[in-house]
């Protein structure tokens, strides 16, 4: 440990591992450490032994769940948007060669007490119980408008200015009902609350286009998922880093973030050893007041409640789908934030056969978080085992340019990885001093 590094990375969550991989490819000398003896940090996937060790200290996993090694239970519920930014990074870095992906079988939305498939084709839209006959016509016009939109062709704008008019204006122009707005804004644009309605329409437009183009890519849902769980993603990027010379140390306690008299980063102390580096990047858990390093460098920016539920049946009303996302828009259950359900199963090699793992989550609004996810839990049917966590979402208090200490964000409540990639771009820019450019890679033709 007496070498000096360009960058020390603390925590092997997905954000840190992507950064570590990209920095190593760029030629930086990287030391990557984690206090845990497994990869993934908060975005790990755990086997049964690890899962029970984390949530039920004095209890062994029940024998009714099958083999320990068959399990890879995600700690955070997220799916990959097929045409999204994470997919671009996966393809660009070629880590896809370590991973296999499967589709998520369906995307559902809760409306008026029942769940329905989010229509993915015109046929499905026509048959969808989400809208009445006249509403379907209006929705069709709305989607045609979005699809045909060309910035440079004002004839396609129908008098709308995406950068000035609000989404409310757009909804009103097409006369869409509030319930339809709910499923478009929450199940397609994937907004967690209704703040977007009163803002300029362009971001919502882009999100809906991303959803529909992702949907078009594989057909069943806009999401894909790595076999063996989300924990494979950080592992794949860690391997990329290692292949380009990155050094990996797991199970390594971090005792101190060492700074000089000006508060600038010097190194990281573990036990009696201190490793020096020019910069440090780490997840918030290494920089909070409760962390080993002592000094508080992050602020609490709200909380997320997540219930990992083990089921012995598919979720009712989803045509026995092996995997689904269900969104309960906030208005439907008189909340300010949506409730999400993400389900995967043995099809994705994350649990034993005939077991389903569903995670119900939302942003905490009250002092009784578990009650807030009750509408989601009720959709699951009998729950065999349930692990509930309430976690703070931390954000760094400084951008790191002054002290060379760069802190990533906690995993938020969104149902996908787009904000994780935003954070990667953001940290990269601060660490490297220029934008992260993913050059277009030559695509291997495998017909």
């Amino acid at each position: 440990m007496d070498e000096e590094y360009d960058v020390i990375v603390l925590g092997t969550g997905l954000t840190e591992c992507i950064l570590s991989g990209l920095l190593s490819v760029e030629g930086k000398k990287v030391l990557h450490m984690d206090r845990n003896d497994y990869y993934g940090g908060d975005s790990a996937s755990l086997n049964l032994t690890q899962l029970y060790r984390k949530f039920r200290k004095d209890q062994a996993p029940p024998t009714g769940l099958g083999r320990d090694r068959d399990y890879a239970v995600d700690l955070i519920p997220k799916f990959i948007i097929a045409s999204g930014e994470l997919t671009k990074i996966l393809v660009h870095t070629d880590v896809t060669r370590y991973l296999e992906f499967k589709q998520i079988a369906g995307s559902f939305v809760y409306r008026d007490g029942r769940i329905s498939k989010v229509p993915s084709t015109e046929m499905e839209a026509v048959r969808s119980p989400l809208m009445g006959l006249f509403e379907k016509r209006r929705a069709k016009k709305f989607f045609e408008f979005l699809q045909n939109w060309r910035d440079e062709d004002s004839a396609t704008h129908q008098g709308i200015n995406l950068d000035k008019d609000t989404m409310k204006d757009v909804y009103e122009k097409f006369g869409l009902e509030p319930g339809t707005q709910d499923f478009i804004g929450h199940a397609m644009a994937l907004y967690l609350d209704d703040d977007y309605i009163t803002k300029a329409a362009r971001p919502a437009y882009e999100r809906i286009v991303l959803y529909t183009s992702s949907m078009a890519r594989y057909g069943k849902s806009p999401y894909i998922y790595p076999l063996y769980g989300l924990g494979e993603l950080p592992q794949a990027f860690a391997r990329l880093s290692a292949i380009y010379g990155g050094t990996y140390m797991l199970d390594k306690p971090i005792d101190e973030i060492v700074t000089d008299s000006d508060g600038k980063f010097v190194g990281v102390r573990s036990g009696s050893e201190t490793v020096k580096a020019k910069q440090v990047i780490g997840d918030p858990s290494y920089f909070g007041s409760s962390s080993e390093s002592g000094k508080l460098r992050v602020v609490d920016d709200g909380m997320v409640v997540r219930a990992i539920c083990i089921l012995k049946h598919p979720i009712p009303g989803t045509d026995d789908s092996d995997s689904v996302q269900i969104i309960i828009p906030q208005n439907q259950v008189q909340r300010k934030h949506d409730i999400y359900i993400a389900t995967v199963s043995s099809t994705h090699n994350v649990c034993a056969k005939d077991i389903y793992v569903a995670i119900v989550s939302t942003i905490v609004e009250t002092d009784r978080p578990e009650q807030e996810i009750a509408p989601g839990l009720q959709l699951l049917g009998p729950i065999y085992e349930k692990f509930v966590t309430v976690s703070s979402i931390y954000t760094p208090i400084a951008d790191g340019r002054a002290d060379n200490i760069f802190i990533t964000r906690s995993y938020d409540a969104t149902s996908h990885f787009e904000t994780v990639v935003d954070d990667v771009h953001d940290v990269w820019k601060r660490v490297v001093g220029k934008d992260l450019v993913l050059k277009k890679r030559e695509v291997e033709v495998t017909e």
Binding site: Y38, Y39, A82, S83, T87, L90, V91, D94, T96, R97, Y98, L99, E100, F101, K102, Q103, S213, A216, R217, Y218, I224, L227, Y228, E232, Q235, A236, A238, R239, A242, I243, Y244, G245, G246, T247, Y248, M249, L250, D251, K252, V443, E444, V445, T446
Partner: protein, 209 residues
């Protein structure tokens, strides 16, 4: 038509026992005295043609240095069909480390994995610290294949990979024709291929224009 198989092979062993050199000799028939630690290759492939016309393609995963601080990811062991665990015959401690790796494999890898224990640097026999008898006895007890090799001279290298190749296909279930491993090509994949889809989305865009 001749049968073709593809298998994932993982390398294990202490740092500096010659894991990468062994593969370099096997794949490219080269040796470099002052080889730096592994850098830059996701994995290498090499094909072995057996006498009965069977072709075995190895997809060889190097540790990329992640073994140094015991930080190999579960992904590394996943779906490995065979493992070559390397020790250095001039370092008795490296055999102890090899035993640890074999225990780790027995814990983490598929139970049907074929394991070969490989005593490398046989060209340095004058400095030998691990006797052939000791290593062979241990290999027999654990049901492992065993050989001594020299990545430097090439002695025994092709032979051990051929022996592994011979042992593999007969043990593999028929379904794993192309191996359950994540091949570098899309052959053998059952899920969605992101690279391929990237292409079709591009052509899709063109249609819209």
């Amino acid at each position: 038509m001749s049968k073709q198989f593809q298998f994932k092979l993982v390398l294990l062993g202490e740092s500096a026992v010659g894991k990468s050199s062994l593969v370099l000799r096997f794949v490219k028939d080269q040796f470099d005295d002052y080889r730096e630690s592994t850098i830059g290759a996701a994995f290498l492939t090499q094909t072995v043609n057996l006498e009965d016309g069977t072709t075995v393609k190895f997809e060889i995963w190097d540790t990329a240095g992640q073994e140094r601080y015991k930080s190999l990811a579960p992904m590394y062991y996943r779906n490995a069909n065979c493992a070559v665990v390397v020790y250095d015959i001039t370092q008795s401690a490296s055999l102890e480390k090899a035993r640890n790796w074999i225990r780790e494999l027995q814990r983490q890898a598929d139970p049907s994995i074929v394991i070969a224990l490989c005593g490398n640097k046989s060209d340095l026999a004058v400095r030998r610290q691990v006797s052939q008898e000791e290593a062979q006895k241990y290999a027999q007890e654990e049901g492992l294949m065993w050989a001594e090799t020299s990545a430097k001279t090439g002695d025994g290298v092709a032979d051990i990979f051929t022996r592994i190749a011979k042992k593999l296909p007969t043990m593999a279930p028929p379904a794993s024709r192309s191996g359950p491993g994540r091949a570098g090509t899309s052959a053998g994949r059952t899920g969605v291929d992101l690279n391929k889809q990237q292409r079709s989305i591009t052509s899709g865009d063109q249609c819209n224009c």
